[in-house]
Symmetry: C2
Subunit: 184 residues, 2 copies
């Protein structure tokens, strides 16, 4: 089968899976609430707004899903404008690689930061007198844990995607000359 | 100039800079202590051992520095064994790319996690009743901030390194056939 088609199919399926997992993460975090009675009628509600890291995770995963959706529009756009602007394939490949790399690092950073905040919620930090909170809001914490796993899976999908972008771009270059395109 | 030589020189200078910045990060975090009198003679000492994330940052940056040092031994090893094992260049390039990618993500994750912990130290989290600690141990926190900047610089250097590894490997492959080596 044609390599270009095959690569495009891989890319599209990777991006669609990433979008699904990212949207799932954002929803799981955003709709995670738990209400607990503290003393008699005083209730406390835990939600993702309580922790800055969780808010950022929701924004970042939504943005990453939107970005991957935009990337899917690349193919119809290239098919339409590719004939008009010569050399647009290489420019699009470079931009895709750069943006893919940036998005995967940003998603991964948000995931790691939230993981650290969640670990502090589970273990607390005695030296800083930060209490555990997950023994009170157990179900809330388990749901966040699930979202973090989803986001980790999405990060891996996006990292593979970035590698595919790098492969698609760099195989065009000559092995003997720096950044010179191959003749064949 | 010969492209192989040129690339090797870029790689070696990138790796040496990364090692220097990583060692600097580990030292700045590990030797950061501040003692503060709480009430009269009761003193409290802040060190990197107080927070799990800081401990992990020290270990990860040390490990990443060690890994880059090992990678520098690749060139003499390839020069020595390259003639004996045919095709060892491609295997080494694939392993380098994989390990580079893993190390840059691990370093970046440790950096992001510590950044989140540090932000919690600066702002606190009212909803979880976690107090600010950086208003008491200001100098300690500023030093950690410096270390995080260093570690971020090291992550960027390692990300560029991983891209160079990808370029070195993928330009060997044909643009028309999947994972087939170029004839020229």
């Amino acid at each position: 089968m044609d390599l270009g088609m095959e690569m495009a199919r891989t890319e599209i399926s990777l991006r669609i899976s990433a979008i699904l997992v990212l949207v799932l993460t954002a929803c799981v975090v955003a709709f995670d609430t738990q209400t607990k009675a503290i003393i008699f009628t005083i209730e406390k509600k835990a939600s993702y707004r309580d922790l800055y890291a969780l808010k950022i995770l929701v924004y970042v995963t939504s943005a990453a899903a939107g970005y991957n959706l935009l990337q899917l529009c690349k193919y119809p756009a290239l098919a339409y404008f590719g004939g008009i602007f010569k050399g647009s394939y290489m420019i699009v490949a470079w931009i895709s690689l750069l943006l893919d790399q940036i998005m995967v690092y940003v998603t991964f950073a948000a995931n790691s930061a939230t993981f650290e905040a969640a670990m502090l919620g589970v273990t607390g930090a005695e030296a800083l007198q930060w209490m555990k909170v997950c023994n009170k809001f157990t179900r809330f914490c388990i749901q966040i844990g699930g979202a973090l796993l989803c986001c980790f899976a999405a990060s891996i999908l996006m990292a593979i995607m970035a590698s595919v972008s790098a492969y698609k771009l760099f195989r065009m270059y000559s092995p003997n000359w720096f950044l010179r395109l191959k003749t064949k």
